[in-house]
Symmetry: C4
Subunit: 495 residues, 4 copies
């Protein structure tokens, strides 16, 4: 049992100990990271908790650096002063409307925006460059219109489906989003619990705040989970992750292929996001990364930009899980993926967080369906080669448009994230219920009894490829100064 006083002496770069959950760790080898040094010799639990899986330290730090428990009473309390801003936020949290007043997925975001810490909101909501793709992801759905059918007996409508052979109560899965504890202490577990209750499949992110095992442990018997993978330069680490996932019963492996380097997300950068990205700690095991090049560069030292088509055989050799490529953005790559024998692709641009001016998944879907039919004779939805899309979905009508155009299911990320940020597990449950309500209504109004009846003829997507109206370029628009007209004397304003 170490005393707090002893720990407190190790508060330098030369010897840096920290306390997390009552245990002491020697993290000297991580020195150089300001954030860690800031807590040297102190209890770092509060800062550590929201953004690291609980087992990150124990897994990544060699056993000899686990110095054992500290005597609680001897640790000097760090008095955290609550800022006025934080007080106002707490006030907003206590003034959240009741869940009954939440009518749609937009509402969760509206509440989350007000109750999240500023940095968390910036991290979650940000996207790359001018965030044009972020917004077009949503806007693209508005370029698709319905051609509903009437006078069909829609007493019973059924929008359940099968995703990669697994039942799902709706053609929607919970897509992977990172750092869930920034917004809620239970992080991704909120999703796991609500998914269980409503028969929805959760995709577990590599960069979860909760540990992989926590998330799997929280699942109910028979609950289906997928795993999203960032591939490490050190393939041994990747192999361990993948095989562990398979051993824990994960049913499919979604390999992210649109992020050889993580995007520049300026809202996030303006926040001077200080916390270490958990990936650095928990997955890469890298030490003293050069942060002077910015967070993006730092993180890219962990993700392998060398990942390529040749690696697919290796993946097949280490796992029997079906492999899906997440982040395909043109028909040529979808075709190549099909020929490479994977089980499907997610037509996605990473929620607008990677390459700005990437087209929305729903737009890419159309060209993929056309070309794979033409070149390989495939029709969609297709059991052997599943097409998923994600990004920008807020309504069941969005999902039904994707299904009509050939998607097996649609990934929803931020809306579920915001729902637990605002209301925890109950928020996610309500979000799913809202989608169910919308599905029932809209299946009836479309005149479709089952998803099979949601056919291409039910949508008019002829405007989908039109990019004549583009989300506003806020930075440019702010700098542009409007033309001024001749003015009366005495009323001349600055040009």
């Amino acid at each position: 049992m170490l005393s707090g006083k002893t720990v407190a002496e190790h508060n330098t770069r030369e010897s840096c100990w920290i306390i997390v959950h009552g245990k002491v760790y020697d993290v000297t080898e991580f020195f150089g990271r300001k954030i860690i040094l800031k807590y040297a010799g102190k209890d770092a639990t509060q800062e550590y908790e929201p953004i690291h899986p609980p087992d990150a330290i124990t897994t990544n730090l060699p056993p000899e650096k686990h110095l054992g428990p500290v005597e609680p009473d001897t640790v000097e309390k760090v008095v955290v002063e609550i800022s006025d801003e934080e007080k106002a936020r707490q006030e907003r949290i206590s003034n959240r409307p009741s869940l009954d007043e939440i009518l749609n997925l937009h509402d969760f975001e509206a509440i989350a925006k007000q109750v999240l810490p500023e940095k968390a909101w910036a991290y979650y909501s940000s996207a790359s460059d001018d965030e044009i793709t972020l917004r077009d992801n949503h806007a693209a759905y508005h370029r698709i219109w319905f051609r509903p059918r009437i006078l069909r007996d829609v007493t019973k409508v059924d929008w359940s489906t099968t995703i990669l052979g697994h039942k799902s109560s709706m053609p929607v899965y919970i897509s992977a989003t990172a750092l869930g504890k920034l917004g809620h202490p239970d992080g991704e577990l909120n999703l796991t619990r609500a998914a269980a209750k409503y028969g929805v499949i959760q995709m577990i992110p590599t960069l979860a705040s909760c540990s992989f095992d926590e998330i799997v442990d929280t699942a109910q018997p028979g609950q289906v989970q997928f795993f999203q993978l960032y591939v490490n330069k050190d393939r041994a680490i990747t192999k361990k992750l993948v095989q562990h996932a398979e051993s824990r019963g994960v049913k499919a492996l979604f390999i992210t292929v649109d992020a050889p380097q993580l995007g520049r997300r300026e809202k996030d950068m303006r926040m001077k996001f200080e916390a270490e990205d958990p990936s650095v700690v928990s997955k890469s095991g890298s030490q003293g990364v050069d942060r002077s090049q910015g967070a993006a560069r730092a993180i890219s030292s962990f993700i392998d930009p060398g990942l390529n088509w040749d690696d697919l055989d290796w993946f097949k050799s280490i796992t029997k899980m079906p492999i899906i490529l997440k982040g395909v953005q043109c028909w040529e790559d979808a075709l190549q993926a099909y020929d490479a024998g994977v089980a499907g692709v997610v037509l996605s641009n990473h929620g607008g967080r990677q390459l700005d001016f990437s087209r929305s998944g729903i737009e890419v879907l159309v060209e993929v369906v056309v070309n794979l039919k033409e070149k390989r004779g495939l029709s969609f939805p297709n059991e052997k080669f599943a097409l998923f899309v994600d990004g920008g979905v807020r309504r069941a009508t969005d999902v039904l448009k994707a299904v009509a155009l050939g998607a097996t299911a649609v990934g929803v990320g931020r809306p579920f994230l915001y729902s637990f940020c605002a209301y925890g597990t109950e928020g996610v449950e309500k979000a799913i219920k809202i989608l169910h309500d919308e599905f029932e209504m809209n299946m009836r109004l479309l005149g479709a009894r089952t998803l099979k009846e949601v056919v291409p003829e039910m949508v008019d997507a002829s405007n989908l490829q039109s990019h004549t109206v583009v989300p506003r370029d806020d930075l440019y628009a702010n700098n542009y100064e409007s033309m001024k007209y001749a003015q009366l004397k005495g009323s001349k304003a600055k040009l």
Copy 2:
């Protein structure tokens, strides 16, 4: 003669009596409806009046539940406090501009918006999901431009027409809208009276606040009325309604086919619209519907989602009225309707209140005309198979565009509703006069002496199918946070 005191004792779920217009009713079997329980043992007239046809109770409640009159003096007066908000509204009502200052149909809406009770405005103006279709209904007309002809003798212009064989002073009919008494104590009777005066046809709604017979009784001899029908699961009720309508001289039956379930209208939902929908009381006769699933679900228990093409033969067997399907939204269904032998279709999306992203009636009209010509050799307007459109019309030019493209007539709903909400019967009369003025002007300017001269060549509808500009998604736009630029020290605003 019951005493108020006796009635007041029956204020529980076990025994629930209410007073309406001085008579006592035992409505215990409706218990479970909070709204009714709230008035248990009391005088419910004020709440009951605006949203129930006066004969709703007598018709629907078995005679033995009619307990007879109450002694007026013994009923405890419910003191209704007038809120400041209501006082302000009354002030606005007294400040309405004179009818002379009303120049167009938009003006009625501008006044109605200010003088209606908040809930009534929310109920009338709301539409489904993000209200994109609601607004595109109007915007679609703005994608059609004129190609007027000159140097024709337009001294006399005549825009009267024939609708299903009945004379109409203009190619416009008053479309069905529900709950008219929310906005004016005379409700739908305002429409009946004005329609009589100006030779316009009124479509009587199933969900009128006034009783069907009141509306028919108010009509002048020879005045033409149509009937809009929601089909009840209990076909006996529907049969009774239809045959009664025919017996009262109604000339056509418009069966609503776009509402197997009523839409989720969020503006309305946010108002926590407490009043029971009259349909539940007066038409379905259902008891204790599960309101925990929301109003939409509740109401759908009355409307039959099982209605389908096979039912048409049954309708033909119970009435000789011509049958028109209201809510057709693609050429395939218009063709099927034609083949099924009905008298016409209304190309409509229910004023944007059902499936969001449905296309406007005017847009659907173009594809219907093309395909019915191509596949059945029909030309339009056509006496044997009438095409109507509704939704979004505000100007005579809108109507003339529809006529040029092949419509027999156009349904106008909310604008007439708003005109009586703002000014009663006189408002509706003024609205009709404005349309007449606009028709005279625009027929002349188009160079058309009669509606037959309003031909397809007079419009350029080549942009109609373009959905590159879409009504603003307010909820998404509110949540999106603009990009911020680098800022001077001291001027940093919250991101």
Copy 3:
């Protein structure tokens, strides 16, 4: 010599005298016009002046109604109180920027808007219905882009041209606009003087505030003027006007064909424009028109809605002036005009003041050129059949686009009107100089030495017919209420 007292006794409908410029007139037969009755027995000069040609009364009133001069001292002075609003306007007038600060035609409008009486601004700026066409007239030019040529010797550039055989210093003429004295005491004479100075042709309006002869008398020897004609039901009046114009040396007759009835212009109507339209007084000679039907109806009693193609022979029989039809709006009518042997057409929608959703003249120009080439082998610009366009022009680039597409010249109306409203004759001169400066610059930048070198290949008009972006429908937009999101307790705003 009548005494003011005597005149003052004739202040009733039965006997109504008024004083104008010191002379007394018996206008009893005009009774029923509120505006005249208001001045019965009084000096009406101030009200009469701005909107009637000085010879209107003497010409139209039978000699026996001219009662002779009044003794000036005996007329009771009408004390006109200057309102605070008027004082503020006078203040704004004295604060006009110097003409040096006026850089473009927009600037004149910006100043005129601030210095005009409210009613004058409403009358001039208003257009029909929702003013969509008004704004698209200008916007249409923005859908045409340039393809300039380089490395041509543009030391000398010449943008002068010939219009109907008459020299013009630029491919622009001053189009007819009504009621010039509402904005400036010299009215249309400002245009005549500036036109003389800069070699520009003026089109004299039928509804000028100045008399026709005043305008012609003001012209310099050799100055070319055209005449715009509204055709009277009483063809004798029209014949007199036309033959008088020819006898005074007018060079061409522009017959307005887009106004069988004058448009409903709501901005103007909201102003309750009280003054009589001069046309009623000076041209139609009609008595006691029914104003209860509104100003538009009243005015249409003078203009002949029966005017048609058959009338053209009659016009040819009464004048040798070349005849041009003003207000052609589709190629079919342009073709018919050509076949009817007129000298040209103005592709115009009356500045957006007649049929809303008429297409802009520049848009119509393209289809006219294509079809007259295809069907009659014509090329444009063409000496025998001139194509003019008007509406929405603000820049020399607009004019050059029209010329490139085949127009002989472009009519500019409101901008010249606003230039004299803001600065009198000097304003018009400056406006013309600005256009000359812009022509010089832009001819050089286009690489065109003469207008002949301004060829179709210099513009990309492929987006011209696109109406996917439409001017905002302000009335509809005002009524539409944005969607609201879930809100924190205590911050609930009215929906």
Copy 4:
């Protein structure tokens, strides 16, 4: 040594001396220029410095007008009062955020806009007419979307290239912009220094504030510079400039062909920009130009509007530098340029400062590539005939779009200008670093290892030619008055 007193006596049009950097010059022959007269007999250094190359006077003024040094102590100090506005500006300058907070090129403009003197901002940011082209230059890039490729090994990405045979660290060069000292005392030298550090090529402008030799002298050994040329009517001056440039090692001659006369830039004109344009002083040697015709006319007396294709042979005869035509705006001229044997063209509209409604360079690029392939069999990028574009670029993604479509490199002007206005040389360095960061990121995300892999298939430019959405016409929009609806009594606002 002259005394200040003596100099002060020469303060009239008849004899006008000025002091610059302690030396006295007789500039009487320039009389008529108000700005010079204002400083007659005084020290003009402060006004002279920012907008004239230091050698302008010595080069252009005959030796006999160099009157020699002045005794410093005898010159009366001109006390310049610092205005409140200027104090506020200095305050803003001291509050600039640190360079670390600058995340993109927009940020430099945001800061420059706040720290520049008003006139400098007006001069730099202004463009011609309604500035539609200015803004479409940027917007055009937003009509191009990416089709990125995945699963390529992008560990190493290389975006360096070769421009006219010279190495460049990125496919971007610093384009010529005038009057750099208005924004920073070191003017264009900031660009030279940063370009050296990061291997970027600078194009030296004819109208630089720094002298040509200063700029060349500042370059590092081996640093590549190009020269932008306005051709003088006096070809001897031009010959001298060109041959001097070649002798100093300049590697290419960019002849501006889109400016036979400089554009009307109204923001600039409203500022009443008083300073003489340096071109007049330093290059044209013209005397007493007629400024009453405005600055544009004045400047056009120096630039030769007679420049034409025939001149190209002469240019080839006086220099061996490759010749590039800057300002080509259609494929026809690009073809003619190719046939004329020049080394390349810049598809440019002069940053929107010349002909408004010129199309963006990136839009023209597409038609040039298509036609030169079709008519001359060329493919692009092409070593023998380089295509450059400039205008509107703010992101590396913009550049990569141009490269994908066939451009060799892209010129960036204002963003680098603003970067030194805001932060001097370090600002330019940061701007270049930001671009490098963006290139690295986006090359990886595109799946391109080298610029050769940035192929046409990686972009969807099918909307590029669409001009259905046009930048807002601010002047027109300001003048247009929205429609008003009927209003409650007491709330009537001015129409």
